[in-house]
């Protein structure tokens, strides 16, 4: 299988399925994951976040190559997953029960 992410981030390839284009998809994947899965993703990706930001900010945001765009989307997922890991200790927002708050507009990239 070909690499999904830029070459210097091959260690994150096992988590390339977190490169999702919309918040709705990222949030849905978070809710469908176990805490062990979220922890494994967080532990692998958080130490690379600063390097990813440094790598990506050299590139034009409105014309990112496919692998860089996927890396950015993976970082968005890391941001989403940081809440279960750093705050909630569970995938869902505590006490949010039946409520939903859906994204209806978000930036294209």
């Amino acid at each position: 299988m070909t690499n999904q992410l830029p070459p210097q981030f091959t260690d994150l390839e096992p988590f390339a399925d977190w490169a999702l284009a919309t918040e709705r998809e990222r949030y849905a994947k978070r809710l469908l994951s176990t805490m062990d899965e979220l922890q494994a993703f967080y532990d692998a990706a958080l130490p690379r976040l600063e390097e990813a930001a440094t790598y990506l900010e050299q590139l034009p945001l409105d014309a990112l190559p496919d692998d860089a765009r996927r890396l950015l989307q993976l970082c968005y997922s890391l941001i989403n997953v940081s809440f279960p890991i750093e705050a909630w200790r569970q995938p869902r927002v505590p006490d949010s029960g039946a409520s939903t708050l859906d994204v209806v507009i978000e930036p294209a990239i």
């Binding site: 918040e23 860089a68 970082c75 705050a87 939903t100 708050l101």
Partner: protein, 440 residues
């Protein structure tokens, strides 16, 4: 002993003697009859924000807005001469909704040369004039000039588009919005065009959600787990005190400190916030756009050095929060029943120049959603227990002054409406208002 100075009267609330300091009733949030009065008394008469000018960028650009509480839908459009106008979204032939896609109750937007009714093909220019009637000769003395779309009053303040559904309204928008809006003029709203918009169908009266966002007394408690545990304990120990509260006509505002952007001690924030330099209060570094320094005179009215945000309640259902790090958000509450409403939260940032900027915005936006989800569910819990009427009188503290003001203002609009109209109806309305404890 307060951390921040209060007015000479000893409290923000007593600075406005008409507010009183007594217990308040929430009958106005659980009575279907009262809601029926609010529909006309409030939403049928006040200026309602329905969007921003960026939503109609070109001549012929339009969007629709469902205003269920006022029993209508409006279409807002930029005409061929560049003017922004609004119409009831209704065909003049037999009343079909004019502009919609797939689902009649869902909002839509686009750009067109003219509007065509799906039912019998009547057409209207974007300035509202009727331009085509299918089989016109079959009608009886019909003059298209008499069948233009029904206009609604539209006005724009600082790029925010408002409508007023009362054809006899004579209050200009800027006068209605008052001193808080005047004090914000010049803020670079037009440069903050990167939009994150959230929407929720919430099982509570519309005023209860405004209550939730018009006070920060709840923040250290309800949102405790958002902070690392030392910081959370510290915040709960302090509680919350606003820097400044002010009322102006039906509107209110508060100004708050904002020690989190950036925090004095980096160990007090979560790892992802440390790495990205962003969080609940926004990206810690201001964007490079003009007009953020100095800020317009109305913003940060106490000129406090720890200032973090100003939060405005523009009556009836529009809130704005302007954040120290250089971004803003809006809240809208669109009632659909006495115990339901559509909530919209919209975050506006200067467009990200780099992927790092964009990640910082994403963290702020995700944090907003995590908070908002907790608030939404709490409101359903509040609504259902209020409806039990097991308790009917509630104490509000000084940090909840804007709630006291909101419910009092809504009551005054309903009372003013009651004072008009035919006597039998007026008597019935007064009984409903009496039951809500609002007559007098």
């Amino acid at each position: 002993m307060p951390h921040f100075e209060k007015p000479d009267e000893g409290s923000w609330t007593e600075h406005y003697p008409k507010l009183g300091t007594g217990l308040i009733s929430y009958e106005d949030s659980i009575s279907p009859e009262y809601y029926e009065l609010e529909r006309t008394a409030i939403f049928g008469r006040t200026w309602l924000n329905v969007g921003r000018v960026e939503q109609v960028p070109r001549n012929g650009s339009y969007f629709t807005k469902e205003i269920d509480v006022a029993r209508t839908s409006v279409v807002v459009v930029r005409t061929t001469d560049g003017e922004i106008r609004g119409f009831h979204n209704m065909c003049r032939h037999r009343g079909n909704k004019l502009v919609w896609q797939d689902y009649p109750r869902e909002e839509t937007s686009g750009t067109c040369r003219q509007f065509t009714c799906k039912y019998h093909g009547w057409r209207y220019a974007v300035d509202g004039g009727c331009t085509f009637v299918q089989q016109e000769s079959e009608f009886f003395d019909l003059d298209k000039a008499d069948y233009g779309l029904m206009p609604v009053q539209v006005d724009v303040w600082e790029g925010f588009i408002f409508v007023n559904l009362d054809p006899s309204n004579t209050v200009p928008l800027r006068g209605y919005l008052g001193k808080f809006a005047a004090g914000m003029e010049g803020y670079p709203f037009g440069e903050m065009t990167e939009v994150y918009k959230y929407r929720a169908d919430v099982g509570s009266n519309w005023k209860l959600y405004i209550d939730a966002f018009a006070e920060f007394y709840h923040a250290p408690v309800l949102h405790a787990k958002q902070y690392v545990s030392d910081e959370s304990r510290k915040l709960m120990g302090y509680g919350f005190e606003g820097l400044h509260y002010e009322l102006d006509g039906p509107h209110g505002m508060q100004s708050s400190w904002g020690g989190m952007a950036p925090p004095r001690d980096l160990s007090l924030v979560k790892p992802i916030e440390r790495i990205l330099r962003s969080g609940n209060f926004g990206p810690w570094d201001r964007p490079e756009i003009s007009d953020l320094d100095p800020l317009p005179p109305g913003i940060n009215p106490s000129r406090h050095r720890t200032w973090g945000l100003d939060s405005y309640v523009f009556f009836p259902n529009f809130m704005m929060v302007v954040w120290a790090p250089g971004w803003y958000l809006t809240y809208h509450y669109w009632p659909t029943a006495y115990n339901r409403h559509i909530f919209e939260g919209t975050l506006y940032f200067a467009p990200a120049k780099t992927a790092r900027d964009r990640m910082r915005q994403e963290l702020t936006a995700v944090t907003f959603k995590e908070f908002g989800l907790q608030d939404c569910n709490t409101l359903e819990a509040t609504q259902t227990m209020l409806e039990s009427r097991a308790v009917t009188q509630f104490p509000l503290n000084d940090q909840e002054i804007l709630l006291r003001h909101l419910h009092k203002t809504a009551g005054e609009y309903v009372r003013a409406y009651n004072a008009q109209g035919d006597p039998p109806n007026a008597a019935r309305r007064l009984r409903v208002a009496d039951a809500a404890g609002l007559s007098g």
